[in-house]
């Protein structure tokens, strides 16, 4: 009986070692520079292995778009604040409607601008990788709940739940 327990123990240890080995073999840890730095282009760099020229182009476009994006963020925040102010001041229906139209317009402008930038990056990446980039990134932007009535403090939550969702 004791031989059976000894054997079971040895099998358990060997199986554990095999499991750990499989984990180490299949695990692709992110480089420290990627995992810890706040490098937003890390995914593009890791996923598509672009040539240095293409990567430099993508970095330049990303950098210049970040300024545009910051402007959009400001415009979104301003339009939401204005809508809140108008509502809080019990303004007329027409004023509230105008503020809401402004919010909708800013939202649409930001979404269009973001999608244009994404398509430009996809064009730089090019080929099958470019299409793959689009298929990953666009649904995440498109499925984010831009159109639902936002709470005034901008508490929107991403609704993305997979690449197949449109």
């Amino acid at each position: 009986m004791k031989y059976r327990w000894i054997t079971a123990g040895i099998i358990a240890v060997v199986a554990l070692a095999a499991g750990c080995l499989a984990y180490v073999c299949f695990h692709r840890p992110l480089p420290d520079s990627v995992a810890h730095a706040h490098d937003s282009l890390a995914w593009v760099r890791e996923e598509f292995k672009l040539s240095p020229e293409k990567m430099a182009q993508v970095e330049a476009m990303h950098e210049s778009y970040e300024l545009v994006c910051a402007d959009h963020c400001q415009a979104i925040a301003d339009s939401r604040k204005e809508l809140q102010r108008v509502r809080d001041s019990h303004a007329s229906e027409a004023e509230i409607a105008a503020a809401m139209t402004r919010v909708t317009s800013v939202d649409a402008q930001c979404i269009a601008s973001t999608q244009k930038h994404i398509r430009e990056i996809a064009a730089v990446i090019g080929g099958e990788d470019g299409r793959r980039y689009l298929s990953i990134v666009l649904p995440r932007v498109a499925s984010f709940d831009h159109s639902a009535p936002a709470t005034l403090d901008m508490q929107k939550t991403p609704t993305y739940d997979g690449p197949g969702r449109k």
Binding site: I11, A15, A18, S40, W43, A70, Q155, P158
Partner: protein, 107 residues
């Protein structure tokens, strides 16, 4: 109930009515010796026991190793997927003003 231990009728009554049919077991002797022999054959060392049970031990060991490897591989793959998803979300947040605003105002 009659509890008289010197009942004269008890002895003859039992002799008449209590008969135990004898059942012969021709394998009794063989099975006793077989058990004695099996006890003698039990290996004294673990390696001897292992040789005796090599097939079943190998089967259990192989099954355990395969299961554990599959589990380890699955864990590694799901960890890699989570890492990748996190990087993608970081990138998308950096270019989508709505998500950027939402994440900066999230509690």
């Amino acid at each position: 109930m009659n509890t008289d231990h010197n009942d004269d009728q008890l002895g003859p009554l039992i002799r008449r009515g209590w008969t135990v049919p004898a059942q012969s077991n021709p394998n009794f002797r063989t099975s006793v010796w077989a058990r004695i022999e099996a006890g003698r054959r039990l290996p004294a060392t673990w390696s001897g026991w292992l040789k005796l049970n090599f097939a079943s031990v190998t089967m259990y060991a192989a099954a355990s190793v395969v299961l554990a490897s599959a589990g380890g591989g699955y864990l590694a793959a799901s960890q890699a997927n989570r890492d990748r998803d996190q990087l993608i979300q970081r990138y998308v947040t950096s270019i989508d003003p709505h998500q950027r605003v939402a994440s900066s105002t999230a509690p």
